[in-house]
């Protein structure tokens, strides 16, 4: 089984002085839940944008399922940005129709179940929903797809603890050995036990790519604690 994501010599420089990603080489296998960790400015957002085809590398390459980022990869990548990106004027069921129309792997039934589970009325307009509820809707839309790569940018940051549990449980139960979830977050402690592996980024470079249990065994502390050690200010 070939790897899902192949990153080779990847660099992104916005101009002469700002290099966001510096010569990164990394391979991500299928069937994993991987944490993307790093302080602000470490290149997480830039890497995520490049994986989604929203930004073009200055050097090197990214391949997902053997394809360079483009319509073929976008059909297989489900992205949850860390902002509200849906049209406020639409109502939830219109958004379900939209996703259903454009993504062959979208399951309207699964989305409907999750909306019911979180007591969200599908006829409500997005602009009437609270920020937390909007984020839940966005997450539901993404998790109702059967993608190969899920990229979740801060999925639990703006939600209450109960919803947080629900989201983590959804991620666990949606797990598939064919797919990989890349989870970028600052709240390491909350999600550590859900992760297989973690990636540490600093100044656009790969500092670490290892499994959670290995880190715990090698350093005798949680990934959260180890992160604080590595990135101490």
């Amino acid at each position: 089984m070939n790897d899902l994501v192949e990153i080779v010599g990847l660099s992104k420089a916005y101009d002469e002085r700002t290099t966001a990603i510096n010569n990164m080489t990394l391979t991500l296998p299928r069937g994993r839940i991987i944490g993307l960790l790093g302080p602000n400015g470490s290149g997480k957002t830039t890497l995520i944008k490049m994986l989604n085809g929203l930004l073009v590398p200055t050097q090197g390459s990214i391949k997902i399922n053997g394809f360079y980022p483009g319509p073929e990869t976008k059909a297989k990548v489900a992205y949850l940005p860390d902002r509200t990106y849906l049209n406020n004027a639409q109502c939830v069921s219109e958004l379900l129709d939209y996703y259903n129309d454009f993504y062959a792997d979208f399951s309207r039934d699964r989305a409907g179940e999750m909306l019911t589970g979180l007591n969200i009325d599908p006829t409500s307009k997005m602009k009437t929903l609270s920020k937390g509820t909007k984020e839940k809707v966005q997450l539901i839309l993404v998790m109702s797809r059967s993608a190969d790569l899920y990229i979740l940018d801060e999925p639990i940051a703006g939600v209450d603890p109960a919803a947080r549990d629900y989201i983590l449980r959804t991620i666990i139960t949606n797990y598939s050995p064919e797919a990989t979830i890349l989870l970028a977050t600052h709240l390491i402690g909350d999600i550590e036990s859900v992760l297989d592996e973690v990636i540490f980024l600093r100044y656009g470079q790969l500092v670490l790519y290892n499994s959670v249990d290995n880190i715990r065994m090698q350093h005798g502390k949680s990934v959260d604690a180890y992160f604080r050690e590595v990135f101490a200010c």
Binding site: L168, I172, T173, S193, D213, A225
Partner: protein, 120 residues
């Protein structure tokens, strides 16, 4: 709902301990069917691969048996279960007795205290 796990020890070893405890204490009876990896991972709020690893470890030492038709059963080998139970009890006792001796109790005192504690 999530299982309480220590942050500084590998997760999978803790999962092995926890499930072993559940088997040994009879929560999962010998020969009974265990929940699927995914169900248990969701309940414990841990990564399914890690849970899978824990199951594999328990299988390796014979506490769990995997049927070809997609099921995991607790072993029927009650001798093995009892042996593990006794080993665990011995561990607890060693720790307890060690601590009581640190408090300078004699062996007879220790037996008295145990009897009184049980009678409560």
């Amino acid at each position: 709902m999530a299982w309480e796990l220590d942050a500084d020890r590998p997760i999978y070893t803790q999962l092995v301990e926890r499930i072993q405890m559940q088997i040994v204490s009879g929560i999962y009876q010998p020969g009974s069917k265990l929940p699927s990896v995914r169900e248990l991972a969701a309940e414990a709020a841990v990564n399914p691969n890690t849970m899978q690893k824990a199951f594999a470890e328990l299988e390796r030492c014979g506490l769990i048996v995997t049927l070809r038709t997609n099921g995991r059963l607790v072993t029927e080998d009650t001798d093995m279960i009892n042996e593990i139970k006794q080993n665990q009890a011995k561990e607890y006792l060693d720790v307890f007795i060690g601590k009581m001796k640190e408090l300078n109790y004699t062996e007879n005192d220790i037996i008295d205290l145990i009897n009184k504690a049980i009678a409560r």
